[in-house]
């Protein structure tokens, strides 16, 4: 028990996602289900989100038709399953600017958003490059940046230059520059002594990124970075080491939100809409939303 409750909330999913996308080098190893989730942190008088998903109204049908993204539900429905509403959210940590993480800011009208300044600055740079280098700005919706302008004008967007301790009491933000994206970050929740949780964003997609098979090199497990990095896989491995250090190398405390098997490791339930709620931890006095 501790100060904060944490839930991972599924809002959509891809049934068949190629495994090499989540695990570097896993070529020709088939497909895995890829849940789309955000995390919710509640406690100390705050309701905070880690990422906000994407806005289905803008291009949801296109995603569904072409890329097999299914069963999107709004934050109102998803948060409603744990007795909250989007207007209750006062703080949002954007781990990176990909559309499926930063794409629905309008649904959180009272929240202040935090993002690394470098995440914005280097996307600006990437978008200025010639067409032949356009790979470097995949998955960013200019519309999200445009909506970010509105947030900034309303003084609801905070751009960070590196780490920020205690952005909320005992909640820290940690950058992983030039990794999955240019200014990715992860969120650390220090719930109490030896009770720290890391919400990894897309720096870790699945358990295997932390506990990959090391058989080929005669070790039990090793870090295997995610498949997509506009920065480097080396920086992903280094960030993984930092995250693991923060949780005393207890791998279960690093939470990969794209991991379907979270339900095997933490109490979970499936909602009437067919989406999963996973309860990572409960604050003192907080009731379970999965039992």
């Amino acid at each position: 028990m501790g100060q904060y409750s944490i839930w991972v909330l599924e809002y959509s999913y891809v049934t068949n996602y190629h495994k090499s996308g989540v695990l570097y080098g896993a070529h020709n190893q088939g497909y895995v289900k890829l849940p789309y989730c955000y995390a919710l942190i509640k406690g100390n008088g705050h309701v905070a989100m880690v990422d906000v998903g994407y806005n289905n109204k803008d291009y949801g049908k296109h995603l569904g038709d072409k890329f097999g993204v299914e069963n999107w539900r709004s934050p109102e429905i998803v948060l409603g399953e744990i007795g909250l509403a989007p207007k209750d959210v006062d703080t949002v940590f954007i781990t990176h600017a990909h559309f499926d993480h930063f794409g629905n800011v309008e649904d959180f009208p009272k929240a202040t958003f935090y993002i690394q300044e470098k995440e914005i600055a280097k996307w600006v740079w990437a978008m200025s490059l010639p067409d032949r280098m356009r790979w470097m700005n995949v998955a960013v919706d200019p519309g999200d940046i445009v909506r970010g302008v509105d947030l900034a004008r309303q003084k609801r967007l905070v751009t960070l230059d590196g780490a920020r301790q205690d952005v909320l009491p005992n909640v820290d933000l940690n950058p992983a520059f030039d990794s999955h994206t240019y200014g990715s970050m992860w969120v650390t929740v220090r719930n109490g002594k030896e009770d720290t949780w890391v919400l990894a964003g897309d720096l870790v997609y699945v358990f295997d990124n932390i506990e990959g098979s090391g058989a080929a090199v005669d070790v039990e497990t090793l870090y295997v970075p995610v498949g997509l990095a506009v920065g480097s896989q080396t920086n992903l491995v280094l960030a993984t080491e930092e995250m693991m250090k923060q949780v005393n190398y207890e791998a279960r405390r690093v939470i990969p939100i794209h991991e379907e098997r979270l339900k095997d490791r933490f109490p979970s339930r499936i909602t009437k809409d067919g989406l999963r709620i996973t309860e990572i931890c409960l604050a003192d006095g907080e009731k379970s939303r999965v039992q």
Binding site: K57, D58, F99, W123, V124, I145, V146, Y205, L228
Partner: protein
């Protein structure tokens, strides 16, 4: 080149607009109407003209898409950080150069019958973006820089709305480049071994 599936280009589902987008309410172009669509379907030469138009229009669309992202990002950096020095970054004249390149391409683009509306939407997005860049220039020169950036913030939303109105997923014109995206590599039609017949899906 073109095959009969060219008709998909005209099946303009409003998949990437907000349900309340004012641009949806605008009258559709002729090509989106039934009669012209039917005429093009029955005319291979007209279909070829559509293909040529799409091939030429797509880099224009993409140039506008990235310019809007770039300029919006500069606005975020200036507004969120209260940083006037953003106005002195070389990114702004670079954006102006790219805008001029897009203008040249637009000038050479000819819309076949029925697609004039699409071309007009690209032109409006481009012109609005030009006004945003003008705002940047004024902000750099004048003391009330914040006021000019506020106006740029309003205008960039309009530019993006026009870009959305010119979006056509089947022609590879989407606001987000989904290639290799972490969310989207599971292209349904590919792993199911099928092809949905979208001849204008030029790799997006």
């Amino acid at each position: 080149m073109a095959d009969m599936s060219a008709k998909h280009f005209f099946e303009r589902a409003v998949t990437i607009h907000r349900y309340d987008c004012e641009l949806i309410a605008a009258a559709p172009s002729d090509a989106e109407g039934g009669e012209t669509k039917q005429a093009i379907e029955n005319d291979p030469a007209a279909q070829e003209a559509v293909v040529r138009y799409v091939v030429a229009a797509r880099p224009i669309y993409d140039g506008l898409r990235r310019l809007i992202g770039q300029v919006a990002g500069l606005l975020v950096l200036a507004e969120a950080g209260g940083r006037r020095d953003v106005l002195d970054l070389p990114d702004i004249p670079a954006a102006r150069e790219r805008w001029a390149e897009v203008e040249q391409r637009l000038g050479a683009l000819q819309a076949p019958g029925g697609l004039e509306g699409h071309l007009a939407r690209l032109e409006t997005a481009h012109a609005t973006l030009g006004e945003v860049l003008d705002d940047f220039g004024l902000a750099r020169l004048q003391r009330d820089w914040q006021q000019h950036l506020d106006r740029a913030g309003d205008r960039i939303k309009h530019a993006y709305a026009w870009l959305q109105a010119a979006s056509e997923p089947r022609a590879g014109m989407t606001p987000v480049d989904f290639n290799h995206a972490c969310c989207s590599c599971a292209q349904r039609w590919r792993h199911q071994g099928g092809n949905d017949g979208a001849i204008f899906d030029l790799g997006a």
